[in-house]
Amino acid sequence: MATVHLQADHRRFTGGEKVLQVQGDTVGELIQELERRYPGLGPLLTDGASVAINGELIPNGIFEKVDESTEVYFVAPISGG
Amino acid sequence: MRYAAPTTVDEALELLRSDPDSRVFAGATDLIPQIRAGRPEPALLIDLKRIERLVAVSHNNGTWTVGAATPTAALTADTEFSATFPGLSEASGLIGSDQIQNRSSWGGNLCNASPAADSVPALIVNDATAVIAGNSGERTASVADVVTGPGQTSLSDGEFIIEFLVNDPPANSSDAYLRLIPRTEMDIAVVGAAVQLTMDGDTVASARVALGAVAPTFVRVPDAEAALVGSSLNNGTLDDGTLDAVAAAASAACNPIDDKRGTIQYRRQVAGVLAKRAAQTAAQRAQGAS
């Protein structure tokens, strides 16, 4: 279980919900659960996003462990120049 | 493309006759970029820099004779020349970087026939003459009459400029050249303004004003010249009325285009600004000249 914060783009899938409590032990499991609850949201989170966990930006972090105290933000992929 | 480096004027004329698709060059600082941009290569390129007369500079009996292929760096480094014609020296020194300065020449700058050429307005206000070689011998033409349009000159096929003649100015005379470029170097004039004038005490006795990059050819501005003549220099400045008249006349004389380097509006406005500033500088210099 973790607290997931969604961007405005994601909220069309969730009926406007911005902050969700989601079941799962890893980021990947959170995404699976979100896809189950809101079909179509999963690919957006997997393909288009890095994940910020408790403030630290983690690229490709689908196997990162989460627990009740974890705040997860899905943010857009960033590269650089 | 073939390359030839004649050592005499006659040899160069012979080479020009030998191939209708031939072209003379000095610095090639415009030619090579033009070829790279897709303009067809001439079949025969004739390098004029090995002809002694084309790279010689002399000063005899009040007249400067400057070989048409002389690098402009040699002119700006000539202290006597630069003291005599500070504006013409400045204009010559603005043609590109130090690298370009060792290649660029008055002949090339003039015959490339870009209305933005820096040395040409300054040559025009100094009433310079071009000595032109051709199949029927040498002739002379006023520099002001050489460029007839963008990329076009009054030279006939088979002709090229050998040298320029510039007379020492009368006493109490001087000149100035200013140009506007967006950077401080490595740029083509958006506007260029040259002024040459002669002072009689504090009063302007005669003046010539020419502009570059503001019309298909270089422009003399008689109304600005008329405004200057009779005006006086007080504490190093011409009066506001004269400067405003010079600026207005210069702006009115423009017939510019909008292009990647500047707008019509901008060129008109800045031509006036540069003309009045150049006039002011030339007047100060002339008064300081003895």
Binding site: H5, Q7, A8, D9, G40, P43, L44, D47, G48, A52, G55, E56, L57, I58, P59, N60, G61, E71, Y73, V75, A76, P77, I78, S79, G80, G81 | P33, R36, A37, L180, P182, R183, T184, E185, M186, D187, I188, V190, D259, K260, R261, G262, T263, Q265, Y266, Q269, V270, V273, L274
Partner: protein, 743 residues
């Protein structure tokens, strides 16, 4: 000059040794891609579309193939057909058009011949029949109701839409309630800002050599920011497996993001395969400007509200970024970079558009400078209206650790306040503004990134070391790697040789981008060194016949109580007796990249009769985390500043009505020259990044962000005119001052 949060505590890190690749670069020996020649090498040349948008009806290569010296010709038919959803689809289409030419300069065919001039002649002889199509050249044209479709393969990212569109991406994010924020504001400012495309402007044009053998394997010598990416992108474009391609990095002559993608390599490989000879391709400057890079043009509206005491209550912005011919994330990263202030109410719309202009590429802190132009101009105007100091209003609203970024995630430990204070306390900021001049301040932010890196460290038999990484060195990173290895091992920097290995000689490493090389690859180097130290202690224990727990590693030597220390050369000399060579490898996908903030101040004078701006003085402060090699940190700050200055004042893509770039040369694409500038005083602020063993944040990106608003604000102070479109060139500035246009 360095403002240090912690006292210097390192022996090597923070010193300024001569870089290891320097000698070759000052003597002319360094080999960039265009300097490489292979036996039997051919030269390649491209056929490029003269139209901004056209259907390719037919291509007849027969006349070109019959020309002297011509050995191979390729067209789009020779390349793999990727599915439009493939991540490299757009890259592949960009390097060779299929069906439609999408911009003026788009490659439609390529030839290889014995000499460069034969190749150019043959390219001119390829006959292409085009059917011109309506072209979209600007953001406004792209979003117009009845706009023609610029690129029929474009679908709006993540929209689920199946119809072609001129929208590349549409994103919306934010927090709070912006309307309530405006209600709470005493002052509200709103402006529209426009910027045009600009180029990265690296001095080395793109170049490569490819040699495809009879075994079907290819070797590529490339100038790129990431040779592993060259491998994967080439493999994708050709439909080849990765093991068929080896990429050897040449020295790279500048990148700034522009060499994170590729334009040449798959074409060179195919030409080489067809001709069975090596093929070298070198772009001309005109090709570079017409068909690579640029950074996106933008149209940004921004509205900001604040209370009379300077608290920003809300920000609302809509940002359009023109990606050029293919989709991209530029609008999204632009909006995401609005992350410097506590904004309780924030609403950002980020819309990427597609047009028939060259495909845009990353450029140093991609998209952040355009966004900062808007936001930092409005904040400056707020300060002016509220009669506040421009640094104070920023300090009042500056984000600190735990405050939300634009996307909502909290900032880690950051140094924005410290960087603002460094400028506030600087001699420059406290000096009187020169007579007739205006002073402006601007700030910038960039995320910085981690990504994947590998490193191998070998100890040689005499105790010297080789540090092998896969990160191309675009700004002195080899020196940084050597410094961190020196610090770890306790070995003098000049006894360490840092090298960049090819794709078969070191582990996978992502592109040098996002200020990640010193951060992430540096971390891999540190980890490999720590692994080596473990081995060294073990060897020392063997030599001294003690338990390894009794060995301490102190200042480059194994220390065992009661015995003389064993130095690295003493241990490596006995390596063969103690288990063989000492080598260690580490790899990682680095998390915890530290965001970087910059604050700049400039004094300018404007000639109000000609519109010319002269910069009298410029100071740039930036949080580097820890400066590993301070000279190259300063160099990144100074170089980024000057690129931003060029962007602000004179650089611009000028297209004619047919979509032809009119100024595709260094004469008319006006990058700053030495005489345009003052010294750029660099102040390094050090607020270490807790996620890196030495506190590195990465410094390459952020420096380009503040200059545009800094100069716009300085010009406003000098003239009273707010410039809202770029470049602020003499004609545009004079028009604005004269009330003819502009502001």
């Amino acid at each position: 000059m360095t403002v240090t949060e912690n006292p210097r505590r390192y022996k090597y890190v923070g010193t300024r040794p001569v870089r290891h690749d320097g000698l070759d670069k000052v003597t002319g020996k360094a080999r960039f891609a265009a300097d490489l020649d292979m036996t039997g090498q051919l030269r390649g040349a491209f056929v490029r579309s003269p139209h901004a948008h056209a259907r390719i009806v037919s291509i007849d290569t027969s006349r070109a193939e019959a020309m002297p010296g011509v050995k191979a010709v390729v067209t789009g038919d020779d390349f793999a057909d990727l599915d439009p959803t493939h991540p490299e689809f757009d890259m592949a289409v960009n390097l060779m058009a299929r069906g439609e030419a999408l911009y003026n300069g788009h490659v439609v065919a390529a030839v290889a011949a014995v000499t460069a001039s034969q190749a150019a002649a043959a390219a001119a002889a390829v006959e292409v029949e085009y059917e011109p199509l309506p072209a979209v050249l600007t953001i406004d044209e792209a979003i117009a109701v009845s706009a023609p479709i610029a690129n029929p393969t474009n679908r709006t990212l993540f929209s689920g839409d199946t119809e072609p569109s001129n929208l590349a991406s549409v994103n919306e994010f934010g927090r709070g309630d912006v309307e309530a924020g405006f209600e709470a504001a005493d002052i509200i400012l709103e402006r529209e800002f426009r910027t045009v495309a600009v180029h990265q402007g690296y001095i080395e044009p793109h170049a490569c050599v490819a040699d495809c053998g009879q075994d079907g394997k290819a070797t590529i010598w490339a100038s790129s920011q990431g040779h592993f990416a060259v491998r994967s992108k080439t493999a994708a474009a050709l439909g080849w497996s990765t093991d068929r391609i080896k990429v050897i990095p040449a020295e790279i002559g500048g990148g700034f993001g522009g060499k994170t993608t590729i334009y040449l390599e798959p074409v060179a490989v195919l030409l080489s395969q067809k001709a069975a000879r090596p093929v070298k391709i070198v772009m001309s400057r005109e090709e570079v400007l017409r068909a690579t890079g640029p950074a996106p043009a933008t149209k940004i509206t921004a509205k900001i509200g604040a209370t009379n005491d300077g608290e920003i209550t809300t920000l609302q912005s809509t940002m359009y970024f023109d990606n050029g011919s293919t989709k991209g994330f530029s609008a999204l990263t632009g909006a995401m970079s609005v992350a410097s202030y506590k904004l309780p109410n924030l609403q950002l719309h980020a819309i990427g558009t597609v047009s028939n202009t060259a495909r845009s590429a990353a450029y140093r802190a991609p998209s952040a400078p355009q966004a900062a132009f808007a936001v930092e101009t409005l904040i400056d105007e707020l300060a002016q209206r509220l009669n506040m100091d421009p640094i104070d209003i920023r300090l009042q609203n500056a984000v600190v650790e735990g405050d939300a970024t634009a996307m909502g995630a909290p900032h880690p430990k950051i140094g924005f306040v410290e960087t603002l204070e460094a400028i506030k306390n600087s001699e420059h900021y406290n000096s009187p503004v020169p007579e007739g001049a205006g002073r402006g301040v601007g700030t910038g932010f960039w995320f910085n990134i981690g990504e994947q890196s590998s490193a191998t460290v070998n100890l040689n038999e005499d105790g010297t070391a080789t540090v092998i990484t896969g990160s191309p060195d675009i700004g002195g990173s080899r020196a940084s790697m050597a410094l961190m290895a020196a610090e770890e091992l306790g070995l003098a920097v000049d006894r360490i040789t840092p090298i960049i290995a090819d794709t078969e000689s070191v582990g996978f490493t992502d592109i040098t981008e996002g200020s990640r090389a010193t951060f992430a690859t540096g971390m891999a180097v540190v980890n490999a060194c720590r692994e080596l130290i473990g081995q060294l202690k073990q060897r020392a224990a063997t030599i001294k016949n003690v338990d390894v727990e009794q060995v301490e590693w102190v200042d480059g030597a194994a220390v065992i109580e009661g015995q003389d220390p064993l130095t690295i050369p003493e241990i490596t000399a006995m390596a063969k007796n103690t288990g063989g060579p000492l080598t260690a490898t580490a790899s990682l996908n680095a998390a915890g990249a530290g965001p970087s903030f910059a604050v700049h101040v400039a004094d300018v004078v404007v000639d109000e009769e000609t519109g010319e701006t002269t910069i009298l003085r410029y100071t740039a402060a930036q949080d580097a985390g820890t400066a590993i090699h301070p000279s190259y940190v300063e160099g990144q700050i100074q170089g980024g500043s000057v690129q931003g200055i060029g962007w602000a004042l004179n650089e611009e893509y000028i297209y004619d009505s047919d979509g032809v770039m009119e100024n595709a040369s260094f004469l008319d694409y006006r990058m700053p020259v030495a005489s345009d500038l003052p010294m750029i005083d660099a102040i390094i602020v050090e607020v270490p990044n807790p996620s890196h063993p030495y506190g590195v944040r990465g410094v390459g990106e952020t420096g380009i962000v503040p200059p545009i608003p800094t100069l716009a604000n300085a010009i406003a102070a000098a003239t009273g005119v707010r410039m809202t479109s770029l470049p602020m060139s003499p004609p545009r500035l004079l028009a604005a001052i004269s009330g003819n246009a502009g502001s």
